[in-house]
Amino acid sequence: MPVEVRLFATFREGRFKEKQMEFPQASSLADLLEHLQIAETEARILLVNGTAVSAEHKLAPHDVVSIFPPMAGG
């Protein structure tokens, strides 16, 4: 199934900013992170279509996934 993946901050280094990717049905975010070689503990903020979810979240076709390392500011 097609999924749009967006990476931010240090996760872009050696990877990409934004990419259309294919994953098997019933894949989870944990599967996606493993594929990208991003440790779950480093992926502090996981958004699917703008909603915060955990790594166990099951992906659906055409989801937009945004992955962030720990960050803050203001």
Partner: protein, 598 residues
């Protein structure tokens, strides 16, 4: 010694009198210092109902007991006065080096009274304190003023605080700049200096403060530094990308106000993100006094090295004005720093003007400048310059979005709370943060209780941002802890790594007390209530605990937070209850008795 210098410097610009008074240390501890102690003296020494730009207003520069100490980020000082923008208590915070230098000169606070007949500045070199002529500096921009005053001081270690032309002209958006690039930005505090004909304060201090418990302090601070240096946010996220790292996460969450809060998602936000800033314009990181985080950005554009822009600035001029041109944002930021304008309120006021213009309420023939259209990079730069210079229609904009909206019969288009423009988070998608905006004692402000931390960033734990459950208590807890940190003289960014217990340990070791964490947080509660009482006496009551009608009635039209409004009417009664206030939002007698204030 105990973290405090034990001295107040009182300067009367009416008479030229300079007095060094003893600070009652028991009183100081009750309100901690900085924001708390400054608010206490302001409340005691002025009638809160006065006109803020009248000579009867006072302006207080207040350090905390940890300012200038060995504690990490011990740079912060607070400007406390009555705000000419909001009519509330103003406490505007800044870092850099000036606050620590004041402490090293031997003063906890400066209280400036009255009004000088002519432009003047205050010169402090340890025990030497003088009121000097500033005719030659009046009208000059911040960077030139800073360089000239440093040259006159003939001491490279002298630290300079100054207003720019915006403060001189008493723009209600005027800030106070120190160390060239750091700002006590909000609430129009620069206009109060301007109203007193006070251009600048130069400080040089050669002393240092000593902690009450030296060995214990050394050990505790070692642990605190380790926590900051090992925390992913303070050791990696902030140093690598600065505060602008937030652009994408706030936008991807659909709470990034766009076109004056008409939308909350900006498709091209990444062009103005911290990642882009680091890639194209960053020269190096810069740090304030004793800061291991170094979130400051030294950036270069057009051959000019500057600092910033920070996240809130990028938003105010960027998405909120529909602009994705980062160089234009850097130029607008520079004009703010040079003229001494608050970047948040200035950008947000231009955004308000753009909506008024596009709705046909402001007419093209009355502005004599670039069309105020969303997306115009030219408009954000040139209108900022005109606002700073008080030129033409820019002079009207320079008094903020609330006055602008009122004048054009559309006050609902001012995205402000208590007349202070809200920063870079749409409350419709973060319920706790919206409650915090509505109840902040200085108006629309994100640094009175940064609920974005738990609601978006998962610090210290992740909360459901759309839920109301427990939010009133969370907001109160964040507001009280923030009041403590502001009053200690530390940077709020430490709270991404530290706990309330850590602040208690530092306070006890440096001040020489044995307080519980609960007692320290109660001091935060005391400070919050003191500010509330000031506002009530100033005529700014619970009726102003509100949000713009757009946020309560118009659902976010698109993006990841589509369909949501802010549910303030459901949250406010719970908040008053958590505060121990009456149903009407007035601090109850029993609460004030518990806190030891009236």
């Amino acid at each position: 010694m105990s973290g405090y210098c034990g001295k107040i410097l009182r300067i009367n610009l009416d008479t030229g009198e300079i007095n060094k008074e003893d600070l009652d240390l028991e009183l100081a501890k009750k309100f901690i210092g900085g924001r708390g102690l400054g608010t206490y003296f302001l409340s005691e020494q002025i009638d809160p109902a006065i006109e803020p730009l009248d000579r009867a207003n006072k302006i207080i520069f207040a350090t905390g007991p940890l300012t200038g100490s060995q504690a990490p980020t011990a740079s912060r000082y607070m400007v406390v006065t009555k705000s000419p923008l909001s009519g509330t208590v103003a406490s505007s915070n800044s870092g850099g080096f000036w606050g620590a230098e004041l402490k090293h000169a031997g003063y906890d606070l400066i209280i400036v009274e009255g009004k000088s007949e002519k432009p003047c500045y205050i010169y402090i070199n340890d025990n030497t304190v003088e009121i000097r002529d500033a005719e030659n500096y009046w009208g000059k921009l911040v960077w030139e003023t800073t360089d000239l005053l440093a040259a006159e001081a003939a001491d490279p270690k002298a630290r300079i605080l100054t207003i720019g032309p915006a403060g001189e002209k008493m723009s209600l958006l005027a800030c106070i700049m120190n160390d060239k690039y750091r700002a006590a930005g909000r609430s129009g505090v620069g206009a109060v200096m301007g109203s007193k004909n006070l251009k600048a304060i130069v400080v040089r201090g050669t002393g240092k403060t000593e902690p009450a418990k030296a060995d214990q302090t050394k050990e505790i601070l070692k642990g605190i530094r380790k926590e900051i240096q090992e925390n992913d946010v303070t050791a990696k996220g902030l140093p690598t990308y600065g505060t602008a790292v937030l652009v994408n996460v706030i936008n991807e969450s659909g709470i990034y106000p766009t076109n004056n809060f008409q939308r909350s998602y900006f498709e091209t936000a990444d062009l103005t993100s911290g990642e882009t800033l680091a890639e194209k314009y960053l020269v190096k990181n810069v740090a304030c006094y004793r800061c291991p985080i170094a979130c400051g950005r030294r950036s270069r554009l057009d051959g000019i090295e500057t600092e910033g822009p920070e996240y809130e600035t990028i938003w105010a001029y960027g998405a909120n004005c529909g602009v994705d041109d980062l160089p234009a944002i850097i130029r607008a930021n520079n004009w703010c720093n040079e003229y001494g304008l608050d970047t948040i309120s200035t950008g947000a006021t231009i955004a308000c003007a753009m909506e008024l213009y596009e709705k046909g309420i402001i007419k093209p023939d009355e502005i004599n400048g670039p069309a105020l259209k969303f997306g115009s990079a030219e408009a954000i730069v040139e209108w900022t310059r005109k606002m700073g210079a008080g030129e033409g229609f820019g002079a009207k904009l320079a008094n903020g979005s609330y006055q602008l909206g009122q004048e054009y019969g559309a006050p609902e288009l001012s995205m402000s709370v208590k007349k202070l423009e809200m920063p870079a988070y749409d409350p419709r998608g973060v319920q706790g943060h919206g409650l915090q905006y509505a109840t902040s004692n200085r108006g629309g402000c994100h640094v009175r209780g940064y609920m974005i931390a738990p609601e978006i960033l998962g610090i210290p734990e992740k909360l459901d941002r759309f839920s109301l459950d427990g939010k009133a208590l969370w907001v109160k807890a964040f507001q009280d802890l923030t009041a403590v940190i502001d009053s200690l003289g530390l940077c709020l960014f430490t709270s991404f790594a530290l706990t309330a217990d850590d602040y208690k340990d530092m306070f006890n070791a440096i001040v020489g007390e044995d307080w519980t964490t609960e007692a320290l947080l109660e001091a935060g509660d005391r400070i919050w209530n003191l500010e509330r009482i000031f506002n009530l006496k100033a005529g700014v009551g619970p009726e102003e605990d509100k949000l713009p009608s757009r946020l309560l009635n118009d659902p976010i039209p698109d993006g990841p937070s589509k369909g949501h409004v802010h549910r303030l009417p459901d949250l406010l009664p719970k908040y008053y209850q958590e505060r121990g206030w009456t149903e009407e939002g007035i601090p109850a007698e029993a609460k004030l008795a518990q806190l030891g204030i009236t």
